[in-house]
């Protein structure tokens, strides 16, 4: 059963020159105990999507349409008060750059107990004991509860973030580029830690990254985002072995590897479109080497092809009478 269902989410940033469509009609669902990957270049809307799920979008950003159903509740319409009960308790987030996400003038222990005492009526002592446990859980000596963030290395700060996020045993964890800016060895240790915790705490999670290999190592399913839209979605193995959309193909083709023979790689020419007035047809058309006439004017619909969901005119688009497949509820029922 799906724990999180995002349907036709539209999120705009209102600017003087008109709304920037940061997230433009995306849909996906995440099953229980699944790790879902969201990959794309910077500015494609992946972090915005993550923040929408935990309702941390600040004005001028606004969810203008669509629904986010967490365990059957549409959180888009929850009041701030109701949302606060959910945030940290049911849905938690590990943000990128722990450096900036931690409070520099508060001890780590205090930042963990703050979350616990926000959601549970426990004494300070109990909360502190749990904070110690949390630190032990992420591989930091529990006695460091009194330490301030500046006393920690980058990897330890990121671990402390994980400790805060998992303090109340949430059911859903958002990992927003958790390893960006970390060294490979520290990154590997952190990914191993997250994988461990997921098993221990039965976590369902969404992992956001621009790094294909991080997603490949951790996620069950992946969605590729481009300019506010999901352009392809499939199981990780399928997407890597047989990407259909030219952008997914180019993205995987632009990624060097350590193994095997050295191969010539090619970058994608041009830059992503501006989200205030995106191309009328397919958003990838100006950079696509397979672009056709129709791509300029008609936006491709997302359809099912060989167990991928893909939005591209190269794949036969449904006629006006054919049912359009959406990545919502309908697909889950057999």
């Amino acid at each position: 059963m799906a724990l999180l269902e995002v349907e036709n989410l539209n999120l705009h940033f209102l600017t003087r020159r008109g709304p920037a469509k940061a997230v433009d009609g995306i849909s996906f669902m995440i099953e229980k105990n699944e790790t879902f990957g969201l990959i794309g270049e910077s500015g494609c809307g992946k972090t915005t999507t993550a923040l929408a799920i935990i309702r941390l979008i600040k004005p001028p950003g606004r969810i203008v349409a669509g629904s986010i159903r967490f365990d059957e509740t549409d959180i888009v319409n929850l009041s701030d008060e109701q949302m606060r009960l959910l945030r940290g308790k049911e849905i938690a987030i590990v943000r990128q750059e722990a450096q900036n996400a931690l409070n520099p003038v508060m001890t780590i222990g205090r930042q963990i107990t703050e979350v616990i005492r926000q959601h549970e009526a426990v004494s300070k002592e109990t909360a502190l004991a749990r904070a110690r446990n949390q630190l032990n859980l992420v591989g930091i000596n529990g006695d460091r509860v009194k330490a301030y963030p500046h006393e920690f290395s980058g990897g330890m700060k990121q671990r402390a973030m994980v400790a805060i996020a998992t303090a109340c045993n949430p059911r859903f964890l958002i990992l927003d580029e958790p390893t960006t800016g970390l060294d490979v060895i520290v990154q590997r240790q952190l990914l191993a830690l997250i994988n461990n915790l997921k098993r221990k705490l039965n976590l369902t999670s969404i992992l956001i990254s621009h790094d294909l290999s991080v997603i490949a190592e951790t996620c069950d399913k992946v969605a590729v985002m481009y300019a506010g839209k999901i352009i392809e979605q499939a199981e990780t193995v399928l997407l890597y072995q047989n990407p259909i959309h030219p952008y997914s193909r180019a993205l995987i083709g632009a990624f060097p590897t350590l193994k095997g023979a050295k191969k010539k790689l090619s970058s994608i020419p041009g830059a992503p479109p501006r989200l205030i007035d995106p191309p009328r047809g397919c958003r990838f058309e100006p950079r696509c080497e397979h672009a056709m006439e129709i791509c300029k004017t008609v936006e491709p619909k997302i359809i099912k092809e060989n167990s991928h969901l893909v939005a591209c005119h190269l794949v036969k688009q449904p006629g006006p009478k054919d049912p359009v497949c959406s990545i919502g509820k309908r697909q889950s029922s057999p």
Partner: protein
């Protein structure tokens, strides 16, 4: 030093003093501590060669590049450009060599003046080094040629643009153009792509490769990312706590790493193939911040799975184990 060597670095050191508090300096008789950011580093760089320096943050690779260019003065050792020992030169005399030894910085958003247009940025360099002899016409044609060389085409579209209007990849191309206009012999590229989007990274690396092929420029490529280092480097040097632990031809280092740290680094690189198994990391712990415990022994000893008494007693010296392949380890592994 052979005739094709552009740069020869011998026993280069850069130590930073660790500040003690007033009380500590009054009551303690110990000699003040130092951080050995660059510790006894020696290597040569041939013409048309790309040498990669790979290591985790804090291993001294950026300090090394700054010390080579005398942006910080070395504590000891020498840097020779062709046959001149540039560390022995006075500031004025060294300035004549600056155009030949250039640097590309990590952050293109921060390293370009936001109030200068693209053409002004290049014009500044041309003026300082008097490349056009004061002729406006020659200046303009030089700028045009440079913009075309770094593929900012058509050049008139970029001429009057301010950095705020350009993407990260385009900005980095301007940085490269600013270096290229000086016709340098070698360029140090310090993490030139780590802040760029995945889809444009390969474009910048390919541009560096083309500069090498066309003008015979040598590069020192500084990165934490072994994967991109493999893509463009002829040789790779692995650094750990200020020392080169392994240096050799790229494919030899990547496929047959001999130093335990290199082996760990390679095992930690995430694999973009989702079907691959996660390899176990052979090492534990973190990079120590101060090097007290390793004053006499091998820097890697505290984390090394194979270390014994010999490793604690003295620092290993580079051993030749193959063609241009050197490893500093008492316990060389297959």
């Amino acid at each position: 030093m052979s005739s094709t060597d552009i740069l020869s670095v011998k026993n280069l050191n850069k130590y930073f003093p660790v500040r003690k508090s007033v009380m500590a300096s009054l009551f303690s008789h110990r000699k003040s501590a130092v951080v050995r950011a660059v510790d006894d580093v020696s290597f040569t760089l041939k013409q048309r060669e790309i040498l990669g320096f790979v290591g985790e943050s804090g291993c001294g690779k950026s300090t090394l590049s700054r010390t080579i260019l005398r942006l910080t003065e070395p504590t000891g050792g020498s840097v020779s450009y062709k046959d001149t020992d540039v560390t022995a030169l006075g500031k004025k005399a060294f300035n004549r060599y600056r155009p030949k030894m250039q640097m590309i910085f990590q952050d293109p958003y921060g390293s370009l003046n936001p109030r200068r247009t693209v053409a002004d940025t290049l014009r500044q360099t041309i003026k300082i080094h008097n490349l056009a002899g004061g002729s406006k016409l020659k200046e303009a044609s030089l700028i045009r040629r440079t913009l075309e060389e770094v593929e900012l085409k058509p050049y008139d579209q970029f001429w009057d643009k301010y950095p705020a209007l350009l993407s990260g990849g385009q900005l980095q191309r301007v940085s490269i153009g600013r270096v290229l206009v000086l016709q340098p012999s070698f360029v140090i590229a310090d993490e030139p792509i780590s802040m760029l989007d995945v889809s444009v990274r390969i474009g910048i690396l390919d541009l560096m490769l083309r500069m090498r092929d066309k003008y015979g420029i040598s590069f020192i490529y500084i990165t934490h990312d072994l994967v991109t280092a493999r893509y463009i480097c002829d040789r790779i040097a692995i650094m750990y706590l200020g020392r080169i632990v392994e240096i050799g031809p790229t494919e030899a280092v990547v496929h047959h790493p001999r130093h335990p740290y290199t082996q760990a680094l390679i095992a930690a690189v995430p694999d973009p193939d989702p079907t691959a198994e996660l390899a176990d990391l052979p090492i534990k712990g973190y990079v120590p911040v101060t090097a007290d415990e390793i004053q006499h022994g091998c820097n890697f000893f505290p984390r090394c799975p194979y270390g014994d008494r010999a490793c604690r007693a003295s620092k290993p010296q580079p051993d030749r184990i193959g063609d241009r392949h050197f490893v500093s380890c008492f316990k060389i592994r297959d």
